[in-house]
Structure formats: structure tokens, C-alpha cells
Amino acid sequence: MLGGATLIWMIVLPFVASAVAALLPSNARNAEAWLSGTVMLAILIMVMMAYPDIAAGNAVRQSVSWMPELGLELVFRIDGFAWMFAMLISGIGFLVVIYTRYYMSPEDPIPRFYMFFLAFAGSMLGVVLSGNLIQLVIFWELTSIFSFLLIGYWYHNAAARDGARMSLTVTGIGGMALLGGMLLIGHVVGSYDLDEVLASGDLLREHDLYRPILILVLLGAFTKSAQFPFQFWLPNAMAAPTPVSAFLHSATMVKAGVFLMARMWPVLAGTYEWFFVVGLAGMITLVLGAFFSIFQQDIKGLLAYSTISHLGLITMLLSLGSPLGAVAAIFHMMNHATFKASLFMAAGIIDHETGTRDMRRLGGLLSAMPITATLAMVASAAMAGVPLLNGFLSKEMFFAEAIEHHADSWLDTIAPYAAVIASAFAVTYSIRFIHSVFFGAAPEPLPREPHEPPFFMRLPVFLLVLICLIVGVVPGRTVGPYLHSAVVSVLGDSTPYYSLAVWHGFTLPLMMSIVALVAGALMFLTIRSYLATSEEGPPYFRRINGQRIFEQVMVTVSWRWARFLEGWLGTRRLQPQLRLMVAIALIAAILTLWRGPLLPEIRLAGSTDVVFTILWVIGMACAIGAAYQAKFHRLVALMLMSGAGLITCITFVWLSAPDLALTQLLVEVVTTVLILLGLRWLPQRFADVETPVQAFWSRLRRYRDFAMAIACGLGMAMISYAVMVRQPPQTIADYFVENAYPLGGGTNVVNVILVDFRGFDTFGEITVLGIVAITVFVLLRRFRPAPESVGSTQQQRHQSADDPVAMPGGGTIVADYLYVPAVIMQWLFPVIVVLSAYLFLRGHDLPGGGFVAGIALASAFILQYLAAGTRWVEERLRVLPVKWIGWGLLIAAATGIGSWALGYPFLTSHAQYVELPVIGKVPAATALFFDLGVFALVLGATVLMLIALAHQSIRKLRAAKTAALAEQEVQ
């Protein structure tokens, strides 16, 4: 008796082990094998111990709340059918781990293999143990992803990469469709819970959305289980290491598709659509897979097509909609997993011991490896459906179902014939495999001298073959009860009577079996000599290559169409993109505002302030002037832009925002200096010479842009006005105003918001500022000016030419350049430092603060640079802006972290006043330290940007001088 929590462990354990496996050293082959083996065995034991709880046909559930707001919860659920699959996954997984230890070579990076393998096992267990449809799809997708990684394990091999990509594309598309189908089911049923869905069969089948649901779910199942027309990925997945093929592509992952069909069988099956779509796909897959399998030369290719065919058989059984068909399908899932896994392992042994998998080159291995040969022969016989083996039993059931009448359709009529033909093919390819590998003689010496593999490599094969045999001889007493609980959990009350006996008398299905065996053997004898030397692939069909079609489709969709769309819709030019963005913003705003009452009754009441109006007349003139002059008169445009900035600044003063005015004013100064420093590197602009046609088009473009600009301006004006004349709603402002002093200990509410209430935002913001400053610094280190900007500027050259005394580095005219202002500027330095300290300290209570103080001090530095030149300043002052940025950020972060030490959340501040001698009462909130960080960072960032730009001139000069000196020396 186990609780539901064990279910969660079954899924969590492999993922945890996967993480551990990834961390082991790359040569830890034994440790990896022990870890994985122990985990798989532990899961196997857990699954076994869960059996008593579900034996009666009921389910054990365990839910974990996931996203309760969305009604999503993780549901783990095990019933007889899921139990059967969990047994297959953990049991075969355990055997594959043992086998892998001997199969993989020491050169292979083994941690990666076990990491993916364990994670895959966890995902697969997740699929079968999910009690929620969305959760099931997530695990389903995980199996696709880990399968992709496992197929591509040997990624140095192109076939492995292609096969991996193809399987991911196909199964990924299927997973997408499945998700859509599950969402529709959830929509119809009103729940994603598996139990509720399974109870809503009639509702689903009669719903209008039944057909879309069916198509989407089947797309998922068909792609996963390699059903026609999606079968082509499976043979290409054979590039995976053989343990992967044995586990994924025979026993588990490809079974997920048929698992899903069986799981949803009670709710989706039984309609004509189901019968026709599933039946057609299953029958085509069954016959074609078997036919193709005969003509493969690669052992794994043969087994892959055989797997496709057997999956088709299961699909066809499920299509019938009869309970007995479902019983046979479930039974065959079990049987196929055992004999096919053992065959894949045998194929791996042959490959491992001889160095080839090509049946044209193999032969006579019976004498070299008799035990392996015997095991492979028994497993092949099971695959062919020989009596006294498990494959025979489920095949008998299949024949019995095929001859029954299920629907009035040609499909139902030809079903028995298709069944017999496919079975005959199965006999042919089974004999073919055994004969060409173990009998006769190899046409040429094998790459390696074959011998029996290590005992533990053979053991998994032996155990699986033993199961085939025991089940085949005494089915009722071995798998009988387990099969019954699996069947009951799927079919519930409609579980039919069925018999697992080996001998039913001389019935029609037995006749069909005999016919298939004889016909298959005869067919082998007929084409034996052809097969010994033929090309890979069946005659006539060889040209229809699923892989090639797939790749052509991929190229068309992901390359041709993508390029076409890119060429048609995309542009690398900035202007059209910006224009589009502006246009979209404009249209979006117009559409939104079209319906709502945009403008209330215009109140022309209120005071008309003439000064304010005049101010803004100037401001608007500045803005328009800047726009007009920015092309040819950059300096004028810069001055006019600053004019508009000053008007903005005055507006802030006017409208009760002293902090903003201070910041705006100082930022304006620094921005202007910065752009002035940059102007020197821009090219001179002359009017373009245009032909009349070009001039016409460019004028047209300008008209269009002008119209857009007018529209944007008008729109902004209207929206602003519409908001400003409305009554303000109740906002959070009141909270801040009321609590700034009691909680933040400051009377300047704006500053308290910045450093206290919204301190974390400010912290993020100063981080951005620091990043920008360092980016600017780094960009400028790699700066190479355009050739015509190197050397002295035009103005400097004119000046030197007119200078009566010619000297290198400037004559008498520049000797006393700005002499008096320079002295004043130098004297101003301490004054500005004091001002900055004053602004900083009073910031919490009165307009000021770290931002303003930082920029003010930065402008003090800039004045020194302007007055005396870069070298003079740097010889006398240690300017280390990068360090200031770092310290600023550290102080701000430390202040925040400090509150953790006292048990408060990040950046909780404490406020109190400190009595200082002379100065008096000083506010000393911890926010002041935070503001100190802001101050240091703003100072560092501003100075760094300005200096980095200012340095460009002297750097180039120095470089030019060094070059000139070098030239002189050469001469």
C-alpha cells in the first residue's frame, strides 16, 4: 500500500537523478550506470508496490495546487493502464541502463547520455501518470525534446543531427496540435481533469467541435507514433545510439501516441470519423511499414519499419471501436515493447561485436555468438507471430477482430486481407533478419572478429525474451491479471469477455496465421537472392523518399517563404520603420479616442496669465526654430533646443515643481556641453544637389512627414488639454503627501518618494545610468573619427593662419584665451562644491537631493576642464568617475541590504534627526545614505560621459603628433 505521494516521486526522482548525472565527471561510466540503474530499479519497485491499490480497476490520485486562480492543478493519477505503461517504462528502462553500460564506448561523453536518458524516462512517466490534460501535453513535449537530444547524442554525425531535427519538427508540430485539441476538450468539458474528461464521452462525441478535436488529438498521436503520413521520421531517428532506439523507438516514446489513443478511446472512439481516419492511417501504416521493412539492409532500419508496422496494427485495432479490439491493442502494446526492445538490443550487440549493421555484409554469426543468435531468433519469432510466443496471442486477437464486421465501409471489407498480407510480410522480414545475420556466410571478412558480448550486455535481452516465451506459453497465469486491470481501467463497464488461451481450436484466425506464415516463408524464398545484394529500400518506392519531401517542405517554408516575407515586409532602413511606428501610434490613438468624449465643454475660465503665454510663445518659436535649423545650422538648433528646455524649466517653477526645475536646469547645462563636445566630429552639411524629379519626390516626402508631425502635435495638444481640464481622480498622491513625514522623515515629498517609498525604482534607475555611462565610455575607447574630422578644425586653422606669431599648438591669439572667465571658473570650483553639498543635505526636506547635487558637482568639474584644459585638470585632480559609479551603486545597495540585517525588507529606511554642532538639526534618515549612493553614481556617470567625449580631441591630437614625430625621425 502506497500513498499518492509515491506517484510524484516516480516522476521527480528521474529528473533529480538527471541533474546529478549531468554533474558527474565525464569518465564516471560506472557511477553513472549505478545511479541510473538504482533510480530505474527504485521506480520499478515503487510501481510494483502500487499494484494492489489499482488492481480492482480504480485509480489512485494525488493533486498538487499549481495555479489555483486558473483552475489548474497538478494531478498525478495511476490506474491499471497507466500502471502497465509505468512498468514497461521503468522495467525496460532499467534493462536498457544495464545494456548501455556495455554498449557505449569509453570515448562517449557519458554524463550527457544519462542526463537525457533519465530526464526522458521522467517525462515519459509524466505522460502516463498525468491526470490533467495540460500537464500531459507538457510532459509529452518534454519527451519530444529529450528524444531530440538523445537522437542527436552523437552530434558530430550529420545523420544524427538531421534525424534529431526531423523528429523534433514532426513530433513538435504534433505536440502543438495536441495542445490545441486538449484546450478544445477542456473548453467543451469545462475541465482538464482526466477523470472528468473520461466521464464526458457522449458530450464530446456529440459536440460541434468533435471533428476539430479529433483531428488535433490524432495529429499529436500519429506524429508521435509514426503513423502514415508522418512515419518518415522514425527510420531517420535510428541514427541514435542503439539503447536509445531500444528504449524510445520501440518501447516507450512511440508508444505514447497509441497510449494517448487508448487513453482517449472511451471518449473519442466509436464514431464513423474515428473509424475511418484512424483505421485508414493504421492500415496503410501496417501494410506499408511491413513491406518497406523487408527491403531494408540496415538491421535497425528493418526493425524501425517493423515498429512502424506494429504501431499501425495497434492503431488499426483501436480504430475498430469494439471493446475486444481495444483489449487486443493494449495487449499488443505490451508484447511489442518486450520483443522489439530485445531485438533492438540484439541488433546493437551485433553492431557492437562485428562493426556493421548492413545485412549484405553480415552472415554466419550463429557459430560465433550462439546464445545471442538463439535469443534473437526467439524474439524474431515473436515478432513474426509464431505460436507459443507472446506476439502470436495478440496477433490472433487482431485477426479475430479484423474479420468481424464493424462499419459499412470498404475499409472494413479489406481489413482481413490487409491483416493477412501484413502478417505475411512480417514473417518475411523476420526470416530475412535471422537468415541474413546468423546463417550462411559473410561475403567478405567482417570489420571485427565477432564473439559473444559480455554477460551483462546479453542479460537484458535474455530477460525480455524469457518474458516473451512465458507469456506466450502460459498467458493467463502470468500477464492475465495485469492485462485485465489495464483493460478495465480503459473500458470500465464495457469490458468484454476475452480469453488469453493459446489454443482456441481450429478457428478462422488460426487459419489466417498459418496462411501468413506459409506465404511469408515462400515470399522470402522467392526474393532471397534479390535481397542479398539489392539497394536499400523497396523497389519502385525507393524514389519516394519521405525525408527528401520533408526537407523540401522545410526549405520552402523556413527559407524561401521566410526570405520572401522578409524582402517584402522588412526593411533595414530606419526612416520607414520610424514612420511606421509613428503612424501606428497615431492611428491607435485616433481609434481609441474616436468614440469617447475627448473634449469636454471647453472652459475658457481661469486666469489668463500674459507672462506665461508670452513665455510659451517663445518656447514654441524655439521648438519650431530648432526643427527648422537642425539640418544646416547645428549650433543654432542646439541653442534653440536649449531655449525650449529653459522654457520647460520655467514652467516647472511656475507650476509648483521646484525639484524638477532644478534638475531640468542642470541637466540642460550638461546636455548642451555634451552635444557641443560632439559637434566637432560631425561632417559639414551642404545643400544636396537634386534633379527636378528627385526634388519633387523629396518635397512630397517632406509634406507627408510634415502632415504626420502636425497630426502628432495636434493630437498631443488635444489629449493634454482634455486631461488637464478634467477633475483629477482620487490617486495615491494623498498617501504619499500624508505619510512623507511620519513614515519617510522628510518634508520634500518628491525626494521622499524617490529615495524611500519608491527607492527600489530609483535603485534600478541609477543602475541604468551607470550602465549607460560605462557603455558610452567603452564605445568611445573604440572611437575612430572620420578622416575629414581628424586634425584641427577649420576655425582653428583660420585662427593660426592669421596669428602674427606662429607657434606649434597655437599662437598669441589662443595663449590667453578666455583668461578672465577662466580665473572666475577656477574660483567657482569650491563654491559649487559647497552648493552641491548644500543641495544634497537639504534634499530630504527642501528641493534638492542626490540627483541634483550630483549633476551640480559634475558641472563644477566640467567648468575646470573648460577653463584650464584637460591636462591641467588631470594633473591636479584625481578624477576617477568609474570608481565613483561603483561606489555609488555599492552604497545604495548596502543601504538596502542593511535593512535585511535588522529584519526589514530591502531598502526599508529609518528616519531621525541628528544634532550637529554649529549646523544644528540635520535630518539623518538612512535614506540619506541611499541618496549618497545616488549622488556618487550620478556624479560619476555624468563626469565619465563628459570626460570620455572631451578626451577624444586630445587623444587624436596626441596620436597625430606621435605620427608626425615618427615621420620626422624616418626622414
Binding site: 532602413r573 530606419l574 526612416q575 520610424l578 475658457l604 481661469g606 496669465d609 503665454t613 518656447g619 514654441m620 521648438a623 530648432a626 526643427a627 537642425a630 539640418k631 538648433a637 520647460t648 514652467t651 516647472f652 511656475w654 507650476l655 509648483s656 515643481a657 525639484d659 524638477l660 541637466v667 546636455t671 555634451l674 560632439g678 566630429w681 560631425l682 512627414d705 504626420m708 508631425a709 502635435g713 498631443m716 495638444a717 488635444m718 493634454s720 486631461v723 498622491a733 503627501v737 512623507a740 518634508t747 520634500n748 515629498v749 518628491v750 518618494i753 524617490l754 534607475e765 555611462a773 558610452v776 573604440r782 572611437f783 573619427p785 526636506d845 540627483f851 556617470a941 570620455a948 567625449l949
Partner: protein, 113 residues
């Protein structure tokens, strides 16, 4: 009337800015972005409604009446916006200088049309 004046001012700032934003020369774009920044900052600021002579600086005594002060929240937002605006202007200026040095052109696409 103050509202009308300021609205028109915002409109002209944004209109001039958008016009420059669509021009082909990098310097025009940087001036345009600055003008738009002024307009947008004023717009955000004006969301707290316009009032003169009531700055959000408390007198530090007793009970506080929020109605006696202008809205501090837009001001706090705009204050950070001004500083970040300065940073992005500086970054764009440097990018345009480096692009000009690398491509030899001051066209926004890095090459003459």
C-alpha cells in the same frame, strides 16, 4: 487658460520632435528626441494638474492636508525621466559619433541614400 497654453506648447514640442525624428540626419534625430522628451515630460507632469505656488514641500508641522499641495507622484516620475533622458541622449550622441566615424556618413542608415 494656462492649460490651453501648456497644451499647445506640448503639441508644438512633440510636433517639432516628430518632424525631426523622421529626418535622415542623425543630428536632427537627436534634437528631435530631446524636443519630444520635453513635451512628454511636461505631459506626464501635467497629469497632476496645474497649480501654482503649492509645491509638495511640507511645512513640517502637525496634520497634513493633501489638498494643500500639488500632486508629487508625476513630479517624482518626471524627475527620473529627466535624468534617464539625459543618459539616453548621451548614449545616442556617442552612438551617432561612432557610427559617423565607422561609416563616414551621418545618415541614420549609416550610408548615403
Amino acid at each position: 487658460m494656462t492649460e490651453l497654453t501648456l497644451s499647445l506648447g506640448i503639441g508644438v514640442l512633440v510636433g517639432s520632435g516628430v518632424w525631426l525624428l523622421l529626418r535622415p540626419r542623425t543630428y536632427q534625430v537627436i534634437v528631435g528626441l530631446s524636443l519630444i522628451a520635453y513635451g512628454v515630460n511636461l505631459f506626464i507632469f501635467s497629469m497632476g494638474r496645474l497649480r501654482s505656488g503649492v509645491p509638495p514641500v511640507l511645512d513640517g508641522s502637525g496634520i497634513v492636508d493633501p489638498a494643500a499641495y500639488t500632486d508629487p507622484v508625476p513630479q517624482a516620475l518626471v524627475l527620473t525621466a529627466i535624468v534617464i533622458g539625459f543618459a539616453t541622449t548621451a548614449l545616442f550622441l556617442v552612438v551617432l559619433l561612432v557610427a559617423r566615424g565607422l561609416t563616414g556618413s551621418d545618415h541614420v542608415d549609416g550610408r548615403e541614400p
